[in-house]
Symmetry: D2
Subunit: 136 residues, 4 copies
């Protein structure tokens, strides 16, 4: 699965903090935006109107290498690093032009909600696996 | 209903923007935090685990008079300005010590979700009205 | 100044709340995004790298008419409602296709920072007024 | 430095997402709130009115073990895991009563701004090191 999906968006004013740069918590949201854009690109939605399953995070990590500023046009390059039977791991590179401003990863597990509201880990649906593998 | 409820909280780093002050969108969240703290104070929850009704906003407005900065200890004074058959209107004063930094209001309507997912305006439940009126 | 500027963006997952719809505080951020996109469209920046002046809000208000949901593609139509000597007022209509989901307004004043850090109200720079009026 | 500082706060409505639980990006903000509360507890501020130095993140990571819900009263236990000559690393455990809902870490470097605005890595000031070590 070497293929990469590119997602571009501009830094908004409210994403900056008093240090004049984007607050670090936003890098995680940028990565998530890229993930969801990738799903849409593949004809999927991470949360359709009546979801049968969901993908809560079990890990998220980011290395910050350079600041982002208001109105910067940021690119998030995301790829599916691995698909386990019950989990998906993404690797992201955040860029400003040619410069890498951060690298990060996110791992989600697939869950279903039983009738009584209990959350239960399940296999990633085959249709999702097929689409994500098809990226390569 | 002249009684006022006081809610105090500290300004967080991520609530500031590059101008060095709290972003205006946070004032609305501060008002909402005060509303929900008021409900808890009255033995209610705006969103219990299995909610039978909800309170979406129909209006929110704020006049900003002075900036808020990182680590400021803010007080939100909230009161129920009026209760209609299907709506609740709150008035808020945001203070830093004796200084008023903002005044605002929020109006919510009471809604229920039908079995088919349709949202429908309903009367504010009597138990809620009684508690909110009891503030006075 | 009847001319309107249109800004389109998609609702993100983290903008929704447990009620399954976009939290009302985000509508204010959507309006601000449209304002800043309008400034860029006119060749301006609300906050250039070394700003000589800024535009803090003195009022923001919004009437919410319909919910927004994850992945909705929202349009913000923004126009300059009036320009005072020291203030700018914007009017916004938020749409989902043909449906109006909210209407709102924001008023900002122009300020400069003296050498000693004191904030002082000033006239809106003529270059800004000319560009904003040129919209019409 | 085994000593731990405890920071308690309640989950707010706008921190939840359509899945009905707190969005993962907030866990990083909770950890930061605990860090800044720790600094205040030690008589310090991470960002005093006229800062001579700052502490941008170089890494943040979190393992999510259980969901957080609206009105949960969350405890963040934070400790200084290590102090390098130019960096500080924190380890956090997020708890709901006795249950661990997440563990995470954040590493920051100390920087100063030169007169020309260039950011430059510097040694963590001795006064800061002394206070943080004094926790033990």
């Amino acid at each position: 699965m070497p293929a990469e999906f590119s997602y571009v968006r501009r830094v908004q004013f409210y994403e900056t903090d008093l240090a004049g740069i984007v607050h670090f918590s936003w890098y995680f949201r940028y990565m998530e935006e890229a993930e969801h854009a990738l799903w849409r690109h593949l004809g999927l939605s991470i949360s359709p109107p009546e979801p049968e399953f969901g993908f809560p995070r079990v890990n998220a990590s980011c290395d910050f290498k350079a600041p982002l500023r208001f109105e910067d046009e940021l690119e998030v390059r995301i790829r599916v690093e691995s698909i386990g039977s019950r989990s998906i791991r993404y690797a992201c590179t955040l860029c400003l032009g040619d410069a890498v401003v951060a690298t990060g990863s996110m791992t989600s597990v697939c869950v279903a909600h039983d009738a009584d509201g209990v959350v239960r880990s399940i296999d990633v649906p085959e249709a999702v696996v097929a689409r994500l593998r098809g990226m390569a």
